[in-house]
Symmetry: C2
Subunit: 242 residues, 2 copies
């Protein structure tokens, strides 16, 4: 890797920011149809924080707090979502690794600690633990208050897909710093934001991005008006997303 080399340009697209969810900007501000023009793999949440979105190969699944997994309609809106078109740079086989072990392996084997990159893991998992936020109604609470009310699911010995991102510390606020991963079982029996998992046997794919395209809902008056200068925002994000 030493010396000058050509790097293929690759872009991640994000609508809204995690920081906007912190004080309760949960209303959807971009249609799923519009979002999918910018990427067909990714993660997000639905309007009102109605669950955890998992976009797999152009299909926008939504894991809801009831345990149901449904497909979002093109005209439904999202307040926060991150997507990309797949163009994998690195792949490797993983066996019998905990989430912590796998994340450490990625950061020690690849030069991506300062890079915004996508992670996809497909295969067999010996255990999976997810959380799903519960749909909120107005007046909206803060993200931290909602995080304390989430539904938690777990399952053993199943096949599925992990999709999500690693963001360097510098992007905390815009995104969640560190790994932010969602999961969907092949049989849709369980999905959501990953709290923990163990890989039995799977393929791990990485896609580093040269460009982060951050789109903001300038047509949303509530966003324009909101006080987003929250002194302990980083702490609230860590508590909510950790």
């Amino acid at each position: 890797m030493r010396g000058k080399q050509m790097v293929k340009e690759s872009k991640v697209y994000q609508h809204g920011t995690l920081g906007m969810l912190v004080p309760g900007l949960f209303e959807g501000t971009m249609t799923v149809a519009e979002l999918l023009k910018h990427g067909d793999w990714g993660i997000g949440t639905a309007s009102g924080l109605d669950g955890e979105m998992i976009v797999l190969d152009h299909t926008p699944y939504l894991a809801q707090s009831s345990g149901e997994v449904r497909i979002l309609n093109p005209d439904e809106k999202v307040p926060f979502a991150t997507v990309h078109f797949e163009d994998i740079k690195n792949s490797f086989k993983a066996e019998d690794l905990t989430q912590k072990e796998l994340e450490s392996k990625i950061l020690s084997d690849y030069p991506y600690k300062n890079v915004f990159f996508a992670v996809k893991i497909t295969g067999k998992f010996s255990s999976v633990k997810t959380r799903v936020v519960e749909k909120q109604t107005r007046p909206y609470k803060t993200l931290l208050e909602v995080a304390n009310e989430q539904a938690v699911f777990d399952a053993n010995d199943l096949s599925g897909t992990v999709i999500g991102y690693f963001a360097p510390e510098m992007f905390q606020g815009m995104a969640a710093a560190g790994f932010h991963l969602h999961f969907l079982a092949d049989d849709r029996s369980i999905g959501g934001h990953l709290l923990d998992f163990k890989v039995a046997e799977a393929t791990v794919s990485l896609q580093p991005f040269t460009t982060i395209e951050q789109h903001m809902p300038l047509d949303n008056q509530e966003f324009l008006d909101k006080d987003l200068n929250i002194s302990d925002m980083h702490e609230q994000i860590q508590k909510s997303e950790g």
Copy 2:
């Protein structure tokens, strides 16, 4: 402004981040020619932190610590720069306003406190005070150490252009939160990063962005290797850029 409205899409492009300068990543990683493909107004710095860049209508000026203002060559490189194509949304006349008064007026008169937007001010200034960083050689110091060695210039009763950006708090690290403005006198007698100014009579133009396109130097090994998880990064940025 109430209710749903169409918002024109407008993009700001940034190569590198302010956070990367904090630990001393000063080497240029994108040519000026490539940068100008993404915008023809903006600000930045040159390789080695060799001054303050002011891009006015496709001309990339560089104010250097000697007091000289020169035009960058297309093949010179920049480590950090922010540019956009001009598409002004709001304009107003300003008279006899200090920098603080003008910045307060912008944020109280326009709904942009949560928006990344460009500011251009053209006209007559009763006073201007700029600072210009000094060219660094390897081994590079930190940004904070360099900030203590900057050259300071001032002038009274002159014509010129202010160009720069406002970034919401959420983007601190990627950019400098708040206003980050550079200046160039019409006769090129003074330029640099603005520490203070007073408008005599000028036109202020604002351009809010729906999209922030952040480009990273993934072909630069020093960037990939650097420890960027600096616990007091926000504090160091405030001290360096304030």
